[in-house]
Subunit: 243 residues, 2 copies
DNA sequence: TCTTATTGGGCTAGTGTCAGACCATTGATG
DNA sequence: CATCAATGGTCTGACACTAGCCCAATAAGA
């Protein structure tokens, strides 16, 4: 920090870029995270969701179409269909992705993710402790866990994302959910560049298990620790590519 | 959540409002938080910081001037001087502020703040544990603590804000610092509506002490617990005005 | 008293973004 | 085979925002 840290923290840019760029970014993230698996919502609805005009949205969609992420078809039952499958990763991709990002930005993203996800798990466990977690919500958490644990290599990233976001969303705080989604998005490209090894999946499964157990048991400290341990594995792997 | 939670989380609005509104909001927050104590930076510099044009910034400044928050003077050594002191709070103000916000939004803001601040404290304590916290940074934390503990009623809010933000900023993650600032901003009006009692200050001082002790000792769980306990006090007070 | 650097005040031309309306295409369904 | 609802494609007028430039005021310092 140059001068007064608080000043640069609060007097930071009010917008990240123009509406077009932000929209492209957002849609790309939704696609890469597998949140929109088949096709985007209709333009009119999507524009309303994103709080932008249809014109701007269409520009973004066209950009993604030209980049090969979408196939747009007209007429009833038409729409913007997702044509994207994560590329086969190689260590060269990862090195390039990390290099594109810069080490400062990477550290920032990883630290941010660590904080918000630990915080979310902690909040959720506290809610469970106080009896504020309905059986229905407990069930959803268990279901997401089972899904990611039984996932094959193709679905793994998507279901892993769904599991992590689920924890944040179950807190009932849209702000917190958005922060966790944002944190995840910032490392998506990096994660996609890491080969998915069966050994890693099994390792992660045990950690996911521990997270859910701690949350359902209403143990905030254990929940945060479990998340921290889980994320530290990924972080260490990524940071290893900086030397 | 209506349908797919993940969809509404990621496909949320890309911008909160127009540039003018966001700028007014941001400046107002900087003023109310006491981050700009005397006067704003020169228009040209401030516009660059906020990533907006000078025209838009000037509109925002004029709005704040007309609302009585700023006194703008021309010429060298001129500028936009802060003319604002937090009003004497009364319980009526608080009830109105809470009512203005709505209980869902309040819960959201409080949950979000709990998560990010606990997360930040946890991250910082972990860094301390790993020896990643220089003596200089430890000193700054202690200094902020001493400042807030020796503050009078007039300076209390400002120094309390500075202390909390300091924890987030010492993690070295701008994203995390911004999230904590944002979380704080969302409850500023409510906090300002609570009368500052000497008893509360002393109570908070002990909790601040516990937070710093846990962080410097490198105990992540204790640090998060201390923050949680501290914030829960405020949250309970605010939530009490909902019945 | 004069100079000068610094700061707010104001203007213009150009671009980005929006809301809303209307057109074109498609495929399921009667 | 004709209809029609849903969806993308296109246009227009209005407003928001920007970059860059120059002017006006002010107070410290020569």
């Amino acid at each position: 920090m140059d001068e007064s840290p608080r000043l640069t923290t609060v007097l930071r840019p009010v917008r990240a870029g123009n509406a077009f760029e932000e929209t492209v970014e957002r849609l790309l993230q939704a696609i890469k995270l597998g949140i929109v698996a088949e096709k985007l919502p209709p333009e009119r609805e999507l524009a309303a969701r994103l709080g932008i005009s249809r014109v701007t949205l269409r520009e973004a969609i066209r950009a993604l179409q030209e980049a090969g992420y979408l196939d747009v078809r007209r007429g009833r039952y038409g729409g913007a269909f997702v044509t994207y499958s994560p590329p086969e990763p190689g260590s060269e991709d990862l090195r390039r992705a990390v290099a594109d990002m810069g080490t400062d930005e990477l550290d920032d993203a990883l630290t941010f993710r660590m904080a918000v996800e630990c915080g979310a798990a902690r909040v959720l466990a506290t809610a469970a402790l106080a009896g504020g977690l309905s059986e229905e919500r407990r069930g959803e958490l268990r279901r997401r866990l089972a899904e990611v644990n039984s996932a094959g290599p193709d679905d793994y990233r998507r279901l892993d994302t769904a599991f992590h976001l689920c924890v944040a969303e179950l807190t009932g705080s849209p702000l917190l959910a958005a922060a966790c989604a944002d944190a995840r998005l910032r490392v998506t490209d990096l994660l996609n560049a890491i080969p998915i090894l069966q050994r890693n999946i099994e390792h992660a499964a045990a950690q996911h298990e521990a997270i859910v157990t701690a949350i359902l048991a209403g143990d905030p400290d254990a929940a945060a620790r479990a998340v921290a341990e889980h994320l530290e594995g990924t972080a260490a792997l990524l940071r290893g590519f900086l030397a």
